[in-house]
């Protein structure tokens, strides 16, 4: 097959990938703590034989996946007023105990389970400095301080219940998304206590997906795809003409 068709093909596959990533961003526009992603592509240079009137080695550039980059910027803060809705302002993650081990999240929507433990919507306990955080019905007016300190009024007296475990990583891009708003830390990343993070009670961090950016990227990808498709079509036309013309027997 002709190189131009293959180059077009590589661009079309890349467009499909880019579209999938944009679709995922838009689908998660309302997911708390979601970080938008962008597909990055790179050039793949192949060496080809020179044609008749060319000198030296010729190159053809294909498009190739380089990676999907997570945009780690802060999402918008949405006020919910719920006691157990927490948002992290700055760099940091909540630690969640799951059956597979400790996972990390920026989705700060928690509620209580039947035992009074603070859990995610999946029922997995949120971790404080001393394990899961238990709130009893006697704890009135539960407050979370900016540093994650939990206090409540018990029998009319202010009592400290514990402290949230808010952690940070040296390179948070290496965290692996695993769905359900959770991240897994690879062995190379050890969680350390976050220094540049404050906890806001009664708020949720929304996604950092910006509709304008996503829609304009979507149109851009769609048009690029269209352009490549018509390029392939004209290339095909060229080939057919060549076969037609060259195949004609001289009379």
């Amino acid at each position: 097959m002709d190189n131009s068709l293959l180059v077009s093909l590589s661009q079309q596959l890349a467009s499909f990938r880019a579209m999938d990533v944009i679709a995922n961003n838009i689908a998660n526009v309302g997911t708390p703590g979601f970080k938008r992603e962008a597909a990055k592509f790179e050039e793949y240079v192949a060496h080809v034989r020179p044609s008749e009137d060319q000198k030296g080695i010729q190159t053809v550039s294909f498009v190739k996946d380089a990676g999907i980059q997570r945009d780690l910027s802060q999402g918008s803060m949405e006020h919910t007023g719920a006691t157990f809705d927490l948002a992290i302002n700055g760099k940091g993650y909540f630690a969640i105990q799951t059956p597979q081990g400790v996972r990390y999240t920026r989705d700060g929507h928690f509620s209580l389970d039947a035992d009074g433990n603070m859990v995610t919507s999946g029922g997995q306990p949120l971790l404080g400095d001393g394990g899961p955080i238990a709130i009893t019905p006697d704890d009135a007016d539960v407050q979370f301080g900016l540093d994650g300190t939990i206090s409540a009024t018990v029998n009319g007296l202010g009592t400290q219940l514990g402290k949230l475990r808010v952690v940070d990583f040296s390179n948070e891009r290496l965290l692996v998304k695993q769905g359900a708003n959770l991240y897994t830390a690879p062995p190379s990343q050890t969680p350390v206590t976050a220094v540049d993070a404050t906890v806001q009670q009664g708020m949720l961090e929304g996604s950092n997906v910006s509709p304008v950016i996503e829609i304009s990227h979507m149109v851009e990808v769609m048009r690029a795809y269209e352009a490549t498709a018509s390029l392939s079509a004209s290339q095909e036309e060229l080939l057919r003409n060549a076969v037609d013309k060259l195949g004609q027997m001289p009379n």
């Binding site: 838009i26 990676g67 997570r70 919507s121 009135a140 998304k177 829609i215």
Partner: protein
């Protein structure tokens, strides 16, 4: 093409969102109603290239990796159990709970249900019942010829009967609380049932530590904030629209693809 199905999950999620908002708005004037919110989570990721994968023998690593998302799902629709405003009605059998706690109601089948809606009335036998005629527990009977009924903050029900100026105590309202009240199962008619998630009910006297107090002549209104709901509705509608734009863009790309082999 994955974008089509991803956008479909987005549309589905926003549809749930709009339904939850619609239900909140419909119940704006329902006594004791607690607003609900839909909570979303991202779906599984397919790891094409894990972040931090080694890219050469010299110890270079991929900084980002390629993780392809599969869209969004509704993780939960949870109830926001904040206090609603109290509105004055002047009706002696309207009681509102200020603070935590539910009234215990005996259903027709004898099992217990719980409610925050204190718009009670009297049965033909003079018992305190809900608007559906279900008995409030523990049972309180108002004697005949009662002129005035007062219910104090601690839930004590006193009745003044004709011919006797001294009010007599005829009953005591109780409140029930749960370790996790958001885990109660709503069954309609303002009633909730105990579940595994709510934890066991704990009965107590109004005004005791950890329980609310009773306000006679008031009803607790829904804690729905119409401004919040309308803004949430607008953003849900826009998000739905964007997802449908993705569907048409993906469709356009697929059309271009099928046209490739043609002519």
């Amino acid at each position: 093409m994955r974008a089509l199905s991803i956008a479909a999950t987005g549309m589905q999620a926003q549809q749930t969102n709009v339904e939850v908002i619609a239900n909140n708005l419909a119940n704006m004037n329902t006594t004791g109603y607690k607003a609900q919110r839909a909570e979303f989570q991202d779906l599984l990721y397919q790891n094409v290239l894990a972040p931090g994968a080694q890219t050469s023998d010299q110890g270079t690593y991929a900084p980002n990796g390629i993780q392809l998302g599969a869209g969004v799902k509704t993780a939960a629709v949870y109830r926001i159990t904040t206090q609603g405003d109290l509105s004055s009605t002047g009706n002696p059998y309207d009681v509102a709970v200020q603070g935590p706690g539910y009234f215990r109601i005996q259903q027709a089948d004898g099992t217990d249900a719980y409610t925050r809606a204190g718009n009670f009335g009297l049965s033909p036998q003079g018992q305190l019942v809900t608007q559906d005629g279900l008995l409030v527990q523990p049972g309180i009977a108002i004697p005949q010829n009662t002129i005035t009924v007062t219910i104090n903050a601690q839930g004590q029900v006193n009745a003044t009967v004709a011919g006797n100026n001294t009010p007599q105590t005829v009953g005591q309202l109780e409140l029930t609380r749960f370790p996790n009240e958001a885990g109660l199962n709503a069954i309609g008619s303002n009633l909730y049932l105990e579940t595994q998630a709510s934890g066991p009910p704990q009965a107590g006297v109004p005004g005791a530590i950890g329980y609310g107090t009773i306000q006679q002549g008031f009803l607790e209104t829904a804690n729905v904030n119409s401004v919040d709901e309308i803004t949430a509705l607008i953003s849900a509608q826009r998000a739905y629209e964007m997802n449908s734009k993705v569907v048409s863009a993906a469709d356009q790309m697929l059309q271009d693809t099928t046209r490739l082999g043609g002519s």
